[in-house]
């Protein structure tokens, strides 16, 4: 019974994703995108991943807010491109490529371990070590801050590069003698 609930939500999300892609008006397609995001939150609750649930919930809210802020600053008008002749060729190429990908994917996915039984080669060592040596109750935080602490440091550095990157792009003046542009 449990997996059927997950499948229902997955189908629901796929429909919302297709809607987000095909809608003409930008604001309504952002709305459909946040439907996909919050549907994903429910699936993560089913898949017993508490940290990822809170992360996805907040990222989805912030993403919705920032998209709406930016669309207000730029073109609120909907996407201008109708399905002209020029549009048909990339659409058909995209669909053909997607069908090959799906067939190859169906063949390849058989090699993965079945849905309920993950290969927990390193994680089982983590679970024993957390109880004996570290004493933190939350295994995920113990992994993040002790076993793979260098990786968390690099994630923080990654976020700081992005903050500096956004600061450089949104600053007032770029090139002094803007001769060509």
């Amino acid at each position: 019974m449990f997996e059927i609930l997950i499948i229902v939500f997955l189908v629901f999300i796929l429909i919302a994703a297709v809607a987000a892609v095909e809608m003409k008006d930008l604001l309504s397609s952002i709305m459909a995108l946040s439907v996909v995001g919050f549907g994903l939150v429910i699936i993560f609750i089913f898949l017993a991943a508490p940290e990822v649930v809170s992360a996805q919930l907040i990222v989805e809210m912030l993403c919705f807010v920032s998209l709406v802020v930016v669309v207000n600053k730029t073109s609120k008008t909907d996407e201008t491109k109708l399905y002209s002749m020029r549009e048909i060729s990339p659409v058909s190429a995209g669909l053909f490529f997607a069908i090959i990908f799906i067939i190859f994917g169906l063949w390849g996915i058989k090699g993965l371990p079945p849905f309920g039984e993950p290969v927990m080669k390193v994680s089982s060592i983590y679970i024993q070590k957390v109880i004996s040596e570290i004493g933190a109750k939350n295994i995920v935080t113990a992994i993040l801050m002790d076993f793979r602490a260098f990786n968390t440091l690099i994630e923080v550095i990654l976020l700081i590069t992005l903050f500096v990157g956004v600061a450089t792009i949104l600053r007032k003046k770029g090139r002094k003698d803007a001769e060509s542009n």
Partner: protein, 112 residues
């Protein structure tokens, strides 16, 4: 129904890829990239699911937990892809200010 459920994250990834390849409007491309990100994160969490196991918080009597490894990886990648989306939005604001349009096909012709 062993491994068929992974196809859903794969389809989500393809829908995002299709949107990025085909659509011309910049905001639509950013939405397509966001959907690709959701597809990949969904795939990681589906790998780590273990049937009738509890969340990776150590309890006295609990015996088997779901795989905590991807749970440590995914929130950082979500924060990074959200910040990357803001970088893209910042560039598209500047682009809109210079080109007065968000349609990539028009921007390409302008450059000549």
């Amino acid at each position: 129904m062993g491994t068929l459920i992974y196809i859903s994250s794969f389809l989500l990834f393809l829908i995002g890829l299709y949107c990025v390849v085909v659509k011309n409007n910049l905001i639509k491309i950013i939405i397509g990239i966001k959907i690709m990100g959701y597809g990949v994160c969904l795939f990681y969490i589906m790998i780590s699911y273990k049937s009738n196991a509890i969340a990776p918080i150590v309890l006295k009597d609990a015996k088997n937990y779901t795989d905590p490894y991807p749970h440590a990886i995914i929130p950082a990648i979500m924060a990074a892809s959200f910040a990357a989306m803001i970088l893209m939005l910042a560039t598209s604001i500047r682009l809109y200010e210079k080109h007065k349009t968000l349609d990539m096909s028009k921007i390409k012709e302008l450059k000549g």
